[in-house]
Symmetry: D2
Subunit: 344 residues, 4 copies
Amino acid sequence: MYRMNSDYTEGCLKAVLNKLIETNMDQTNGYGEDPYTYEAKELVKKTFACPDALVQFLIGGTQANFVLICSALRPHQAVIATNLSHIATHEAGAIEHTGHKVLEQPSDDGKLTAEQVEAAYQTYALDPNRPHWAQPKLVYVSQPTETGSLYSKKELNDIYKVCQEHGLYLYVDGARLAYAFGSEENDLAIEDLAKTCDAFYAGGTKCGLLFGEAMVIINDKLKEDFFSIAKQNGGILAKGRLLGVQFGEVFRDGLYFEIGKKACSQAARIRKAIEERGIKLVTYTPTNQIFIDITKEQYEKLSTEFALSHTGYLPNGNYSVRICTSWATKDEEVEKIIQMIKEL
Amino acid sequence: MYRMNSDYTEGCLKAVLNKLIETNMDQTNGYGEDPYTYEAKELVKKTFACPDALVQFLIGGTQANFVLICSALRPHQAVIATNLSHIATHEAGAIEHTGHKVLEQPSDDGKLTAEQVEAAYQTYALDPNRPHWAQPKLVYVSQPTETGSLYSKKELNDIYKVCQEHGLYLYVDGARLAYAFGSEENDLAIEDLAKTCDAFYAGGTKCGLLFGEAMVIINDKLKEDFFSIAKQNGGILAKGRLLGVQFGEVFRDGLYFEIGKKACSQAARIRKAIEERGIKLVTYTPTNQIFIDITKEQYEKLSTEFALSHTGYLPNGNYSVRICTSWATKDEEVEKIIQMIKEL
Amino acid sequence: MYRMNSDYTEGCLKAVLNKLIETNMDQTNGYGEDPYTYEAKELVKKTFACPDALVQFLIGGTQANFVLICSALRPHQAVIATNLSHIATHEAGAIEHTGHKVLEQPSDDGKLTAEQVEAAYQTYALDPNRPHWAQPKLVYVSQPTETGSLYSKKELNDIYKVCQEHGLYLYVDGARLAYAFGSEENDLAIEDLAKTCDAFYAGGTKCGLLFGEAMVIINDKLKEDFFSIAKQNGGILAKGRLLGVQFGEVFRDGLYFEIGKKACSQAARIRKAIEERGIKLVTYTPTNQIFIDITKEQYEKLSTEFALSHTGYLPNGNYSVRICTSWATKDEEVEKIIQMIKEL
Amino acid sequence: MYRMNSDYTEGCLKAVLNKLIETNMDQTNGYGEDPYTYEAKELVKKTFACPDALVQFLIGGTQANFVLICSALRPHQAVIATNLSHIATHEAGAIEHTGHKVLEQPSDDGKLTAEQVEAAYQTYALDPNRPHWAQPKLVYVSQPTETGSLYSKKELNDIYKVCQEHGLYLYVDGARLAYAFGSEENDLAIEDLAKTCDAFYAGGTKCGLLFGEAMVIINDKLKEDFFSIAKQNGGILAKGRLLGVQFGEVFRDGLYFEIGKKACSQAARIRKAIEERGIKLVTYTPTNQIFIDITKEQYEKLSTEFALSHTGYLPNGNYSVRICTSWATKDEEVEKIIQMIKEL
């Protein structure tokens, strides 16, 4: 029995684990005031070519999102995001819990468009009663998206341009960022991400670490006292060096991007088999997640060997099923599922 | 120049004003611990046939909504409402500010349906990951709605039935409640409202008072410490008797319903003139608000004599314009606007 | 039976009532977009010599406090105030409800000292772990205080100086401001208040209006989108002109200060009688509130004719009892209570 | 150079690390739906003799505190705790951020008394204006306290009795719980803790795990939807099994209590040396933390070999310095510091 239902079914990369073992009994200060964290922060800034950024390691993705958002916004301000975005769905209302409305925009493929941002902003700006409305102030996008799709460089730039015109912050949720940069279809240079947003996080939990997310804040306005607001929200790990140790490993020599590339190429092989077999994709995804349109019987057949995510029912009565590769996916698993797909 | 742009352009009913004058120098305790408030609470309970209800006078509608909702819900719980509802639009994100998500359901006429409530609930209940979602717990409807439409007795009952099946609270925003009961098309008995929801408020601000809303809580689970939560949110007036004095006047002898009926009949006359002139309604409304589809030129012509609300642009390029009657609308104003409509 | 238990036992000043009657059927826009409000805002700015201030009328004192504070602070920031302050006691945790800690400083007479502010700030600033603490950012004082005491010009200036040195905002709760300026011992010029703080409100509820507080924001940093945050918190009255009409009357020709002076002089007469009779004051108060130390029997005797506030038990077993004058106190009431005090 | 400045300077126990290594590439479901977590929850319930408790593993202590408290309380409710408690000091206002006031009670030794709880409750309950106050509803104590002191069985029982009489919840922060049960002076049986409170957490971060806290909810009223509220606050780890794996190791065979005992006995040896040398304790502490009263020179001398926490200045001008043992403290470190203390 194999698991391809999510990209967080295993522990962590061997290199990460080894470093945790190696440093386990080292004595350091807490809360990120340690050499491992200092080094890792520098590596992150170097990797993303943003020497003046503020880097803060946090523990998980929901936390990263609401801490950044509640730190950035005043009480009446709101977030523009798609209805499929993580903050609109699987965070149990975390953004609203910190006091802020999510202005949900409809999306089929998980991507927000510059036109939607412009329209959402204008709906507010042109209303003579706008002081009676929640004020759009931050735009949230995921790269890659929750549904596996990918923004092109131009798409991200167009959104950022609209944001800058209207004084909106652009925040990129990079829970699976390794698999964005690892996609064959990616055209955004690693060093360009920080130039096209105000803040982003590079996810660790789904990209080879035990846990942890690297928040990178570019815009000076969003930096002040970020640590304290993270602390207030439970975002500061006592043994902060655990995050430094882990992120240091994946950003020292590009391991983060290697594993992303591998997982995307494995997913591409599976996708090719799906297409060859004539199975429909729910939506086209060039990253590590694949959503397929199969019958109950087909799902059950695959389930004899693979744990997969049944993510919902399709209009044709079929199942939408997610297949997920990750840093941990073995080639034998890929070959096995390809074989089973052929025989569906 | 006349104003028909809203139903809060004047002060208050003569009877209300006279009572305020008469009692002005009476000395009473504060915060609603006075004979006027005690009497008014009894009158409200008698009027709506709910002797065991908790009545608490509050100051305004936005406040009434968020105080009731934040008192009723635990942190992860959410509200089901239409995308046109007051809490989703003109309250500057007040519900989210208290920590709760509004699950917006699309609506053309401002009304929520029992089917939408059922579907919204099932979306949550059937999801295997539902502990990761905000939990629907309270259903918000306005009677009449923000767009002037009216729930029938059956429609409200159907919604309430769904709520009871799933343990959801039904809360009715009655900012314009006088104009619901005053509509010729209303088929809900006054004494039936409290039987078909868990809480509602009877609006004063738009129905003849200077200000004030009468919150009526039927469900025992929602009563505990409501005063304190209102106090915490600025909802308790120091000179609470001002609310008691005002509500006493409109609920002692049915004045609340008289003025509702008059305003609806005036609106019906205007609507008839609109239909006879061949002007389209944006949506059919049997209460005190009329939304018409006219050209910019027609709007400007009407605007020479009447302040009206230009509420938006229609797909055909025309203006959506609101005409509003109220307890204060004079027959001469009605005749004047009818004359102008004929000549458009 | 007379009431001297609080300064909100009656309705409003005759001039205010007359203006409300006179303007009752005028038609205006809502939410403060009306000529009465425009004029009243100008009168407030002129009165307090702050032509560039932002004036926003709000409905009540608890609301004024939490709206200003939650608008001013970021999530991790806190308020310095005395343990006797209104925000620390009778607001049901309103400040905390908006997310902010109140750093309570002990006080006997209700006044905060510049030394306390300095110490509270240094406790934070000198702590190497200060990013783990709530950050002091706003200082709250009441003028006069909840216990009737009064800051001298020097005391306020000293606090403001400490605030400015450390980047703290100074906010003055003026719920009873008329009775501060009306005190014989006041040495702060009306036009100096706005020079010695970042924001204050001039209370209406306790100073001759039916209800209403005039928030005056001096510091530009606190002005942005204040209306929206007030709206979100239920602070914007639909019939906003009611506030404009009322504040216009008391600030057009100095009525606000006249009534303050009269009430303070009445209180001074009562205090003199108390002292002559040999009754102890709980604390010395030069404004409109007097707190006396009397036995249960003395309290009961006074209570045969006067409703007074029994505010607590004193270490000697006696009652602490509040006597309150106001804009509405009649000379006959003053004479009556003086007579009763003499005979205690 | 050694670190005795805190009990979170190293990684984790060897047994815990080994199990993490061993299970690293196992594939499991996320969010705690895995066999390791299931087993660990059972072990916790067995250890603390509370078979019907709800166990939820969380990530850190600040998070554990605010998630439990915001899940337990309605908006107007408050927490009774000492001024030295973690929630009143080093959590950056986290409790207030979730909307709740902390009613701070003065304490010298970090312990709250049943008398203080009773008094705090009565201050509220006896006030005729209590609906205007934040309502005490939950009592927070730490076992052992932040300052190293320890509640006796009787002290805890007395507090719990007061809580039960007044409908207050008692919540025990057990960040260092291993060191409470490990103290020679402890008289509370492990199986008695759950009988003497409504909820507690057994800390992992400071007691041998990389991170993690085991929340144990006894009172049924506090169980409902706790997972969702934890999720909303970032408390649910994607790879939840990491918590299960770790807690399983320390609770399977009593390792948790072994390491607590060892660290307390090491601290006792150090304390004995301090007393023999004639150095004053800031406060007496029978657990793993020792606070000593030494001169700047003495501190600097110790600092040549040991990183210790300078936690503040004493009235005599001396330094208050914390020495902390933990699960990781080696005997050679203990001997070394004893030697240095002798030579101070």
